[in-house]
Chain length 307, copies 2
């Protein structure tokens, strides 16, 4: 799957992933109203609105970007109906040929990690039958518990050709509180970077990168440059561009000299583009999908300047 991601990135000449993190206040009035008319102001109504919103975005960007990254929290918060919207979004994205990165950031001991792994990127067993549930192509994970909490995912990655992005240096303001502590001359995130590189050694794709990738925030350019050197064969999922404040220049260091090695996420900057002044003057709320498409093109061109 890491090979497919790289190939699609090259074919489309675009290292962008669109974060499908819809919030109700991003969803135009006309979509919400239609869903509430159908289901009432209920969880079903919210789920319907989120799915319709996502489908319109996907229709407008699937030919431009290799992947989408739904953030499960935005769905999980609405319970069963929300999770159903998450699954429907994944299915629709896959139908359109998009690679799906499930942003789940799970962390647990081995026996529990196995359950998450089987559900998200493997198969669950019902007696003698095996079923695929979530069907993400990649998922994100948190490394705090160490290797035995990651290993159950690596098994399914290798069996079913799926991939991981393990948190190394996150994009948020307080990420340094633990990640930047110094140990034996290194920062913790550097040590975690080395571990993630090691964990990925037995999961190499054919194009030079491992199925075990890393999350490296664009908001810390010096740190990402260092990590690029520590983990040359690890693909980076890079959040923080746009709404979180990072520019294309900030993330130049995330790419290798081959222009590969990183895929850059933007969520609000793309899916809520129609609410921003720049696009508002050109697109009506009904045209929010077109605004997202233009935002994707602008982001692609911006990123391609620096890699």
């Amino acid at each position: 799957m890491i090979d497919k991601l790289i190939t699609k990135m090259q074919e489309m000449n675009n290292p962008t992933v669109v974060g499908l993190d819809p919030r109700l206040n991003f969803v135009p009035d006309y979509i919400r109203t239609a869903s509430y008319e159908k289901y009432g102001k209920t969880l079903e109504g919210v789920a319907d609105a989120l799915v319709n919103f996502n489908k319109e975005i996907i229709d407008n960007i699937y030919d431009l970007v290799p992947a989408v990254k739904p953030q499960i929290a935005m769905y999980e918060q609405y319970g069963v109906q929300g999770l159903s919207a998450y699954l429907e979004t994944i299915n629709y994205a896959r139908e359109k040929g998009l690679i799906v990165i499930g942003d789940i950031k799970r962390s647990d001991i081995a026996s529990t990690a196995q359950a998450y792994s089987d559900g998200h990127i493997g198969r669950v067993k019902i007696e003698d039958e095996e079923i695929e549930i979530y069907k993400e192509d990649f998922i994100t994970l948190n490394p705090y518990l160490g290797y035995d909490s990651i290993e159950p995912y690596i098994g399914n990655c290798n069996t079913y050709d799926r991939g991981l992005f393990v948190l190394v240096k996150t994009s948020n303001p307080n990420s340094g509180e633990i990640q930047d502590l110094i140990t034996g001359g290194d920062k913790i995130y550097e040590r975690v970077g080395s571990l993630v590189a090691k964990w990925g050694e037995q999961s190499m794709g054919k194009l030079g990168y491992s199925r075990v990738g890393a999350v490296v925030g664009a908001t810390y350019p010096e740190q990402s440059k260092k990590l690029r050197k520590i983990m040359p064969k690890t693909f980076f999922l890079v959040p923080g561009y746009g709404a979180q404040g990072a520019t294309a220049e900030d993330l130049a260091g995330c790419f290798n000299s081959d222009g590969l090695g990183a895929i850059v996420n933007s969520s609000r900057g793309i899916i809520a583009a129609y609410t921003k002044e720049e696009y508002k003057i050109k697109f009506k709320p009904e045209e929010f999908g077109k605004a997202s498409r233009e935002a994707v093109i602008n982001m692609r061109d911006d990123l391609n300047r620096v890699r």
Copy 2:
């Protein structure tokens, strides 16, 4: 809620929490068969079997233990139907007066953490209406992203009197890989312990403990003794007893001199007691609930020896 947990612990003279982490192979044949007859060998069938299994356990232990801890992974792996079983389990446990600790170990940046927080321990908004979704009393969290990833939960804890257990030193074999690294003379888990204690200072209950607790594995007795000193007002959720190998003696250091300060989890050791030699000779599979009850009593007495 931390006060309610302490009060129930004292009334029942029992620092045990029962982990509701059912796996299909723990569920006796007769329950699975009945569910499959009703729903087929489907996700609905699995969900029905898990709920019926949990209800029988709860019926047999609710008057003996203050709390249960469903592990969301065991449900989430089965998708929408699984999550529905998770919610039904929580509702049933609450009806029986049990405190519910949702073992979700989430971690994400602030805006995303807010969504998890609102869904799990707060309220989600549908336009002008507020709805409670998961209704856990406590949840577990991962600290790797730092304070701004925890803060959105603390808000809801204080508003709705809920609680947190943040991972500090986990019970699994590789937990030391990151958590035991040394920084400025301290281990990382000690530094995280200090942070968690600080994060909880503004969320004190009336009985001397904070709403912001910590997960401290029983499998590392020396480390937990140290942490008890670093964070005297922090309540510990202690996994690792029984199936993971820790004994009552190992976790003596988790308690304060008042006999409080820790609640000890056992999952398989209780819910799958009927499969163990010790109970098998006394209880038929149909009596698995009674076996769990006896296992709870034995665990209570074992723990009370050391605190």
